[in-house]
């Protein structure tokens, strides 16, 4: 049975046997793609057998590591330029995708023969990135290496493959650290948003209550946002203003 592998023109068998001619061996990229919905931070995971894993891929020999990460993100989400940043290296010596049964089962279920010696069964050092996306603009695609996708609350994760739970944990903490250094959170919201929405987002990221008044003043004082006409809504209470990111001056 021939199966086209999403990131190249090879079929699966060819990919397993000599994918390392096209890709760097022993190196993979894994992405933690983070969105915000219904007041909760969520991450995008893919299903392989009875486990869930991070979207990932390999580095083409003609691509830089950053380009590879961006390509994988684009392939998975159809997003061109969200906030994408390097997270960390996961480099344990016993880090082998083939150790558990999920990967092997997938290969066998694909009607391809299994070989311990495939380059993809060797040790892999993972270069991880995290991306902040507008969850409504993201349209994940499912390829041959996975059966389904899902957005999961960070505090209600399913059964995770390999060490991908550690990667998720690291991303969650990094986000907490980065939020005060750079105001990057707007990437998680639509182009236009209200201060109460941004306020809820910050509280969700930091996992603590923030004073409304102070928050609003701090955000406005940053000078990053411009106020638009008020939002029309049909819930009780005053109508909030809409904001959007100011265009950068030259």
């Amino acid at each position: 049975m021939t199966q086209i592998c999403y990131f190249c023109s090879m079929d699966l068998q060819e990919f397993l046997e000599e994918g390392d001619k096209l890709f760097l061996p022993n190196l993979s990229i894994d992405l933690v793609i983070i969105g915000f919905e219904e007041g909760h931070l969520k991450c995008l995971l893919l299903k392989m057998g009875n486990k869930w894993l991070l979207p990932g891929g390999y580095i083409r020999r003609d691509q830089s590591v950053d380009e590879a990460a961006r390509t994988i993100l684009k392939d998975r989400t159809n997003l061109e330029d969200p906030h994408l940043q390097f997270l960390s290296v996961f480099g344990d010596s016993e880090r082998r995708p083939g150790l558990g049964s999920e990967w092997k089962d997938f290969i066998l279920n694909s009607g391809v023969k299994w070989d311990e010696g495939y380059w993809v069964n060797d040790r892999f050092v993972s270069l991880t990135y995290y991306a902040l996306v507008d969850i409504n603009k993201t349209h994940p695609t499912v390829h041959n290496f996975d059966e389904a996708y899902g957005w999961f609350h960070f505090d209600a994760l399913p059964d995770i493959w390999m060490d991908h739970d550690q990667i998720l944990k690291k991303a969650r903490n990094r986000l907490k650290e980065d939020i005060n250094r750079e105001l990057i959170t707007h990437n998680l919201l639509p182009d236009k948003f209200t201060m109460p929405e941004l306020h809820k987002l910050h509280q969700a990221i930091l996992e603590e209550k923030l004073d409304r008044s102070r928050f609003q003043k701090k955000m406005l004082a940053s000078g990053l946002f411009e106020r638009l006409p008020k939002l029309q809504k049909d819930t009780p209470g005053r109508n909030p203003y809409l904001y959007r990111l100011k265009k950068q001056g030259v």
Copy 2:
């Protein structure tokens, strides 16, 4: 001619031909080793031909990436546990040690035949770390891949190999960023030091004047240091106290 390669029992020829059985291919580690002397930040560089490069090495298949970095640092400096932290990934697609003439010349000068196809001539992704060391406790060793070592001012660097100048630049900036988050700077000083010394160090790192009074109060308020008897010296002016890092409470 047989030459022993420092990180394994292979000779050079064997290392070039099948070193990738022992090490991960396409992956290298480079270290920016930073010290402080005579009021200036310095970094350790090695000489290869007419260029200077960072101490580096490869990742043994039975070692984690972090272990490999620590091993290389130990081999180069005889230091066991200085501050060692991940810096960044350098992953350009055209990042090949063999592109310039220095590497080829070194191989040929070693009396070994040259082959474009050696694994070490392929593209390499570099995982970089930076280490803060007490320059007086550091006794660099020179191995077969380099002729000499030297400590260089960051603002008076020699001719640098490949993209190692970019790595140095990144480390220099990272240090500036990290100094205010964590108080890691004592790693650059001897066990016992004075506040004026620490003050000069911070000014050197940040490349700006810091108010003496404020600096001293901030350091003492951190509670990290304990005061020792005064230093005896024979220069004009009052004798400063010595300080050392407080032992961590349980």
